[in-house]
Amino acid sequence: MKGETETGGVRKTGIPSMKELRASPGYPGPELLARGPIAVIECVQDIPCNPCEAACRRGAIHVGNPITNLPVFYGEKCNGCGNCIPVCPGQAIFLVDMTYSEDRASVSFPYEFLPMPAKGDIVEGVNRAGEVVCRAEVLRVQKPKRFDHTAVITVAVPKELAMEVRSMKRLKREG
């Protein structure tokens, strides 16, 4: 798979490698993913940051002391509400639902570019390198005031690309 290629890691390319992701305590394994919608935290460096911890009222994310700890994810406690997505300043939290349908999974990601897509649009799903990997159907566009201008977009993608698609190609501006 494309996303499986080793990239040299986040410090070299800006893309966390699969090795870095799997080794991080925020990345859910296949058993958790199979259960339903669940957060996927792709935060692999010891940066001083912790808003994700307070964003999750179910206590599924723990940073603790010191705040340079990596976020630890307790997937059993996660109900897939998605509250943590818009709060993360690193835009490093996504939501994946492997059970969306027979052949498709849904992926939610933070999005801060205009114009916004609308529900029902067919957009281009991109991977961590910004490469288009599939067409994706927009299932939901959430941008309530409390998200503070970070929209959360949910798209349906082929199931085998659920752990690859992490955003969508920006839409053209009019004029």
């Binding site: 800006g14 966390p16 940066i47 001083p48 709060v87 300043p89 690193g90 390198a129």
Partner: protein, 364 residues
């Protein structure tokens, strides 16, 4: 006759505002002076959500943190003098102010310098062409003046500033053709780099800009790979069609006033160059003159605010507005938070450098 105040704070960025708020809350008479029409320093250019801890309002946009600081300063009874440049500092903590076509003086019992930093430049053939600018200038154009500096940009530098400004250029509707970084690794946070990558921008480590070409302004940039000594490798040149080249190659403490006041300095590359020595109270080698924020070593808004708090508390305590016990207790809490912010692989270096400053201060 010179105007008088108890505490004068120079610079209304996060460091200066936090200092003023603490000193004002303690009951001191405080004036904050800034050359801009609006207080907030860098914060008003920063529309992105901030890192840091919950206690530092991380996850909040810089602009909002700026607004909150303004409100708190007002509540603490802090006076602000805007559109005013502090052009000098003279004996006995007397500040020279230039405002509205005249100059005046302000005498203070304590002075807190929080003047921030200036952007480093990078010289290469064509660097004086219109279209070559600092990343901070790019931010000012986009967020303060609402002007897009160009349609196709090259970013030089993959530290946090370069990465964040690249993202903001994309948000404003420009295309960022590439980010080049001379070092073999990305200096900024991985999560910032990942955002830019997902948006389709390549980050080329081990690359630099060789020259800018164009007649009336930037039309092209030539980049190349560099070896470990930053020497361009022949045959690796590439030409990019760009109309803007943004430089994000580091910041240096804006230390003129501290030099003028006669403070002792040390050269510490990890903190951005020459930094004024200070003790745990942020007091320099000149009595009653304090420093905080980027001026005391380039770091982040969250550390700038904490250092500001320290300076504000210490100055208020020295003027008798806080008992020794209360002052030490409050400062102890701030020190703890500062230590936490300087942990991890990104903070360690700064923690060590800051420790050097304290030690050097003791030997002066």
């Amino acid at each position: 006759m010179a105007r008088k105040t108890e505490i004068a704070v120079v610079g209304a960025g996060p460091a200066g505002m936090a200092a003023a708020i603490e000193a004002g809350r303690a009951g001191a008479r405080v004036i904050v002076i800034d050359e801009n029409q609006r207080p907030g320093g860098q914060l008003f250019k920063q529309i992105h959500k901030f890192f840091g801890s919950e206690a530092h309002r991380a996850g909040t946009r810089g602009v909002q943190i700026g607004l909150d600081l303004l409100r708190e300063a007002e509540e603490a009874g802090v006076a602000t003098l805007l559109d005013t440049v502090v052009y000098g500092i003279f004996s006995d903590r007397c500040l020279g102010l230039a405002r509205e076509h005249h100059t005046e003086e302000l005498e203070a019992d304590a002075v807190i310098l929080a003047t921030g930093a200036s952007e480093n430049a990078l010289a290469f053939p064509g660097w004086t062409l219109p279209g070559v600018m600092g990343a901070g200038a790019t931010q000012t154009l986009i967020h303060i003046h609402r002007v897009l500096p160009g349609k196709r940009a090259l970013m030089v530098g993959a530290g946090n500033v370069g990465l964040i400004v690249s993202y903001q250029l994309l948000q404003a509707g420009a295309k960022v053709v590439a980010v080049v970084e001379g070092l073999p690794a990305i200096g900024g946070y991985g999560v910032h780099a990942s955002k830019v990558r997902r948006a389709g921008v390549p980050i080329l480590t081990g690359h630099t800009v060789l020259r800018a070409e164009g007649r009336e302004g930037v039309e092209r940039a030539v980049i190349a790979r560099v070896d470990e000594n930053w020497k361009p490798i022949a045959g690796t040149e590439r030409t990019l069609e760009v109309d803007t080249i943004c430089l994000a190659v580091g910041l240096s403490p804006l230390a003129e006033l501290a030099w003028m006041a006669g403070c002792e300095f040390r050269y510490i590359p990890a903190l951005g160059g020459w930094v004024p020595l200070h003790d745990g109270n942020m007091e320099t080698t000149r009595k009653g003159i304090y420093v905080a924020g980027d001026l005391a070593g380039i770091e982040e808004a969250s550390t700038a605010m904490e250092e500001g708090r320290l300076a504000g508390l210490a100055a208020a305590q020295s003027l008798g507005h806080l008992t020794r016990e209360r002052g030490e207790k409050k400062k102890g809490e701030v020190h703890k938070r500062l230590a936490a912010l300087r942990m991890g692989s990104f903070g360690e270096g700064r923690a060590i450098s800051k420790e050097q400053i304290l030690q050097a201060r003791e030997t002066v």
